[in-house]
């Protein structure tokens, strides 16, 4: 029942974005033709970071300087990386920087989002190791797993250091909090394996999160290609956001599901809260502080849930019946009664991996289009849901 997707579908995803753009009367950039094009490695293009606040890239004459930033209130903590050509000598003045030789040819990644970033930059086949083979959607990576080209290295905190040192990948992409520093990975960095602390999950906007593709671009010298693709995502997203935010009627939305009396719902500064704002929804906790999630008690969310218009991102359920199986009290919520329940599980493959967590992260325009289609069907009448589906 669940169709396996091919590389073609990935292209069509990006095409969807481009088509949406057309519908909004904006000049469409042809994003689709650049997917899968073999080349792309060049050292002339320079990328500019516009949305992400978690990293910066500086271009110098013979090297690139990458900073991964950790915002802790007023203070900003920085991890420094020198991106050097294969045989280039170390420039002076960066005693604490980790050195990454570019273009990176092999990498070990830890999360679905990392896979998506590599896929977007067209370098998914350079992934030689994964934290775990579970939850992988990318057809390229999956076929490489089947072909035995990939190694499972263990998850963060449980990494097989000996295996990693033997593999000696160009980089290890970790998803820990950057303030953990590289102390946790000292064995690896001492062995000369640069550990890049991806903190895309700490971004406060969907575009900021997606913009981490530019980090991959810098690491693989694919700035020109990635910039072009990201620009089209950005344009599509921004025109959709204009459309959504301009909607006359703003429905009330609740997110997630309580667990044992505690309801985890996105905090006001999280990228999910921003999605809701851009999709033209009213989200009760949009003015709260914090980028993670709020842990509210059931009673606090219940008054909102009883009167909300839509219930999105319901969680690990496929049907309405499964919601009341969790707790029959949820059956009283208005969106349950009216059937306005949507979950992001339309693209789940045969091993249960959900593409929302993978390509959804780098296609925020498509996710936003889905949300607008759900909340304001009249604004995007021709859009067919990609990641979301209605619970039956």
């Amino acid at each position: 029942m669940k169709k396996k997707i091919s590389a073609f579908n990935i292209c069509s995803l990006i095409l969807t974005g481009a088509l949406l753009l057309n519908g909004c009367g904006q000049p469409a950039t042809t994003a689709a033709d650049s997917t899968g094009s073999p080349g792309g490695d060049s050292d002339t293009a320079r990328t500019v970071i516009r949305y992400a606040r978690g990293f910066t890239i500086e271009y110098h004459d013979h090297y690139k300087l990458l900073h991964i930033l950790n915002h802790m209130g007023e203070k900003v903590d920085t991890l420094e990386y020198l991106l050097l050509r294969k045989d280039a000598a170390l420039p002076p003045g960066y005693p604490h920087a980790q050195v990454i030789r570019i273009p990176v040819q092999t990498m070990v990644v830890m999360s679905s989002m990392h896979v998506a970033l590599a896929d977007f930059a067209g370098v998914a086949d350079r992934i030689t190791g994964l934290g775990s083979f579970q939850y992988i959607y990318s057809p390229i990576v999956r076929s490489n797993i089947k072909a035995g080209k990939l190694t499972q290295v263990g998850l963060d905190g449980n990494l097989n250091n000996e295996l990693l040192i033997t593999m000696h990948p160009g980089i290890l992409m970790a998803s820990s909090n950057p303030d953990a520093g590289s102390g946790k990975y000292k064995t690896l960095t001492d062995a000369g394996i640069p550990v890049v602390m991806n903190a895309e999950w700490l971004e406060t906007t969907p575009l900021g999160r997606a913009e981490w593709v530019k980090l991959l671009a810098a690491l693989t010298d694919r700035e020109a290609l990635v910039d072009k693709k990201f620009d089209s995502v950005e344009q599509a997203y921004n025109s959709l956001a204009q459309l959504g935010a301009g909607a006359k009627q703003k429905p009330r939305v609740i997110i997630g599901m309580p667990y044992k009396g505690t309801w985890f719902t996105p905090a006001g500064e999280s990228y999910m809260s921003r999605f809701l704002l851009d999709a033209g929804a009213v989200y009760k906790w949009s003015a709260t502080r914090g980028i993670g999630s709020l842990s509210l008690n059931f009673e606090t969310v219940a008054p909102e849930a009883l009167q909300s218009d839509y219930w999105l991102n319901v969680g690990y359920v496929d049907t309405k019946k499964e919601i009341t199986a969790q707790d029959e009290r949820y059956g009283s919520f208005k969106p349950y009664k009216t059937g306005q329940l949507y979950n992001y599980n339309a693209r789940v493959n045969d091993i249960g991996s959900n593409d929302y967590w993978e390509s959804g992260g780098v296609n925020p325009d498509v996710v936003l289009a889905d949300m607008i289609r759900i909340l304001h069907p009249e604004l995007l009448p021709d859009h067919r849901l990609v990641y979301y589906k209605q619970l039956q």
Binding site: G157, K260, G261, V317
Partner: protein, 347 residues
């Protein structure tokens, strides 16, 4: 305290206090609802504000009843354990029953990450909260059977206690191994479960939990005489016609039922089981189980309800895990009582 009123009078006083705390638990929460409206909903189940009705009838009242049952069950099973093992530190989790329930839950939550397993379970039509509860019951029952089969061959209760603790330790180690190799998100789900919660039980689950608790309490009330006899030593008990093995079997059964079902529905709630029996003994100055059991029920319930009120952090939008509060409130209470009475009897 010396010219204290008799036991029954104190029981009545506690009963009144219980009613008060029960009302307080229903009246106070994150959403401010006027007391008049609260009473109106409780007594006529009707108010003009549907949201308030929902909050009171669907959230606060089930939670309060869960607190009552958890309070009764945990403290009575703690009392039984302390009497059986004649050890002031004994508690319901001693025999590994709580660990068994945790093992069941871990099996579902952590192995659930294995997609194949999750699909199989869904195919069986089991899902949602029942799956977790069922697994916890199964885990508790499994360990209980193991403990019971051992109890048939072990001669004295001290050995039984040590074996129980060992079984619990083994069970927890298995869970730890499982956690070590699991995805962080799944571990988080499991961790949240171990913090304990009174808010996840409603409707049918409340009925089933209620039946289990009532059955367990009835068994323990009928074993009052046996428990009293055990206090005077196994030899004396034997002379009274109570065989140690049979007594042990019955007490372990009722403890398993009480602690197992509460752990299954609410997660492992600590401390109440160890603290409340001491409070009851010191308050009633008796070792008569006919008074101690209802006393434990009342004190346990009052403590649990009070903890729930505090856990809601009235006026805020968050809730603290009940397990944290029971220890934070319970431990100072026990210290205070001990310092006042300056003695601590296990039996």
């Amino acid at each position: 305290m010396t010219n204290s009123p008799s036991g029954p009078l104190r029981l009545t006083g506690l009963l009144l206090l219980l009613l008060l705390v029960f009302l307080l638990d229903i009246a106070i929460g994150s959403v401010r609802i006027p007391l008049k409206e609260v009473l109106q909903v409780i007594f006529s189940a009707h108010t003009d504000n549907d949201t308030w009705t929902y909050i009171i009838t669907q959230i606060r009242i089930p939670k309060a009843f869960t607190a009552v049952m958890a309070g009764c069950g945990l403290s009575v099973s703690g009392l039984q354990m302390q009497t059986l093992f004649r050890n002031p530190l004994a508690e319901p989790s001693m025999l590994g029953i709580t660990a068994g329930a945790s093992l069941g839950v871990a099996a579902i939550m952590l192995a659930g990450g294995n997609i194949a397993t999750l699909y199989t379970i869904k195919e069986l039509g089991l899902s949602g909260s029942w799956m977790i509860t069922g697994a916890a019951c199964l885990g508790a029952a499994l360990i209980m059977m193991l403990v019971l089969s051992v109890s048939g061959t072990v001669k004295n209760n001290v050995m039984m206690l040590i074996i129980g603790i060992m079984i619990g330790t083994i069970t927890l180690s298995i869970i730890s191994i499982w956690q070590y190799f699991s995805e962080p998100e799944l571990i988080k789900d499991y961790l949240l479960w171990t913090f304990g919660s009174l808010g996840g039980t409603s409707g049918m689950q409340l009925v089933i939990l209620g039946l289990a608790i009532i059955t367990g309490l009835v068994i323990s009330f009928f074993s009052c005489k046996m428990l009293d006899a055990l206090l005077l030593g196994e030899n004396y008990a034997r002379s009274m016609g109570v065989t140690a093995k049979r007594a042990r079997f019955i007490i372990i059964c009722s403890t398993s039922l009480l602690a197992g079902s509460i752990t299954a529905f609410c997660g492992p709630i600590g401390f109440v089981g160890i603290a409340v029996p001491h409070m009851a003994r010191l308050l009633f100055s008796t070792s008569n189980h006919r008074i101690l059991i209802p006393g434990c029920c009342l004190i346990g319930t009052i403590l649990m309800l009070l903890c729930d009120v505090i856990a809601q952090l009235p006026g805020s939008n968050t809730v603290l895990p009940i397990n944290i509060i029971t220890a934070l409130v319970g431990a100072p209470a026990v210290i205070w009582i001990i310092l006042r009475k300056n003695n601590l009897r296990a039996y």
